[in-house]
């Protein structure tokens, strides 16, 4: 998955089962596995960093500018690279990022069977919200729920803005999201709810990382349009329905709280409503 995305000298130093890689200019290579975070003794030189950046951007900074201003670069196979550097402003708008100093490469995983506790079958009719801090396995569980729902015969539309759920790249998907799923990849959320409801007649809408009023508005439209929603949200407790998310409180039938301890994807709390 990382061939042609990272330089060979970096790939060589990574163990199997790595889930996240941090490449920082002039600092040691860091990576995360199920067992924890490790600091390699390999220091990333400026040249190495530039080579990695060129590979990631495919020597085509213009192709990812819009994504870059949102702080990430989507790569094939659902790999997502978070970017830190200096923002270049054009009035109120971030035009691009320059002097990039850090790359955070997140590698998606597919773990079959982790949604078995939900007992999803063809009669499953619930709105589910998965809550956890970053890196606790929200998207992995969401992907598995999607796959199982879809294979159970539900018509699922995935709003996959960054290609993380399906591993979308061009017209193929690196990850299994089921046989009855449609993927809206690369669309901003505000457009994709509209497109999904109008054109794809889904029974379920699947969306990752709810944020902002647009998302809340989209979920409400889906809900009141008779479409079920499976979504994820950043948080560290089930008490998330305040502020902009207050309107979502009556919608979700099932809340699942995940933690990365003792291992990523641990369900620490579940609430049926």
């Amino acid at each position: 998955m990382l061939d042609g995305v990272l330089t060979k000298s970096i790939i060589r130093r990574l163990p199997c089962g790595v889930t996240e890689i941090r490449i920082r200019r002039g600092r040691p290579l860091t990576y995360l596995t199920q067992k924890g975070r490790y600091f390699s003794d390999y220091v990333i030189s400026d040249d190495e960093f530039e080579s990695a950046l060129n590979l990631i951007t495919e020597h085509s900074l213009y192709a990812i500018t819009e994504k870059l201003v949102n702080g990430y670069i989507p790569l094939r196979g659902g790999v997502r690279v978070g970017v830190a550097g200096e923002g270049v402003m054009d009035g109120d708008r971030v035009k691009t990022i320059k002097h990039i100093t850090s790359l955070s490469v997140r590698i998606p995983h597919q773990i079959f069977g982790i949604a078995d506790f939900l007992q999803i079958d063809g009669k499953f009719e619930q709105n589910v919200l998965i809550i956890s801090p970053p890196g606790a396995g929200k998207t992995t569980l969401l992907r598995e729920i999607t796959r199982v729902l879809s294979n159970a015969g539900k018509c699922v539309t995935i709003l996959d803005e960054r290609g993380e759920i399906s591993g979308a790249s061009g017209n193929s998907f690196a990850l299994d999201v089921g046989k009855n799923s449609d993927v809206l990849f690369g669309f901003p959320k505000k457009t994709s709810y509209e497109n999904a409801l109008r054109a794809l007649s889904p029974e379920y809408i699947v969306t990752d990382e709810l944020s902002g009023e647009r998302d809340v508005e989209g979920v409400l439209r889906a809900y009141y349009g008779g479409v079920k929603v499976i979504a994820t949200l950043h948080g560290d407790s089930l008490d998330v329905f305040h502020g902009e998310f207050a309107h979502l409180a009556p919608i979700f039938d099932r809340l699942i709280l995940l933690s990365k301890y003792p291992r990523v994807g641990t369900v620490v709390e579940e609430k049926k409503r």
Binding site: T57, E58, H59, L61, Y62, A63, I64, T65, L68, T96
Partner: protein, 151 residues
């Protein structure tokens, strides 16, 4: 007048004509190279503007099914180009700069380069072809003159 002299005259005639042909061909190749370069820049502008296609994909899709020297050059094949070193440097410098800036800047720069190349090809490519033909005719004429002098 012996046979050897006639043979030398004929050889000289053919030699100068061949040189003329080579010069003509070089001018035509140069014109074709620049025309393809201009078409490539237009294609790249379209693909970046509407699809944000990465440069590697642009190069591959532009050259798909094409057999010209510009595509060979773009794909890194080593060959003797019909351009001077300065001209090759200029093309190479510009091509390697594509992809290093954000979309707005990239499109503005590429748009400017397209206009410049449009003017350049309009002004020079016809001239290159005419010059090529002229040099060929001159070379043939030189051959004839040399033949007459020798014989």
């Amino acid at each position: 007048m012996n046979t050897l002299t006639i043979l030398a005259g004929v050889l000289l005639f053919f030699s100068t004509s061949l040189v003329g042909l080579w010069v003509k061909r070089r001018f035509i190749r140069k014109a074709s190279f620049y025309e393809s370069y201009y078409r490539y820049l237009q294609y790249a502008w379209d693909k970046i503007s509407y699809e944000r296609m990465p440069i590697g994909e642009i190069n591959t899709s532009y050259c798909k099914g094409k057999k010209d020297e510009f595509c060979d050059y773009l794909q890194g094949k080593t060959l003797a180009l019909p351009l001077s070193e300065g001209e090759i440097d200029e093309v190479s410098r510009y091509l390697s700069a594509i992809g290093t800036s954000d979309a707005d800047t990239e499109l503005a720069t590429l748009g400017g380069k397209c206009s410049e190349m449009k003017r350049f090809t309009e002004e020079n490519c016809v001239k290159y072809r005419k010059d090529g033909t002229l040099y060929f005719k001159l070379a043939v004429l030189l051959g004839v003159v040399a033949f007459i002098i020798i014989v």
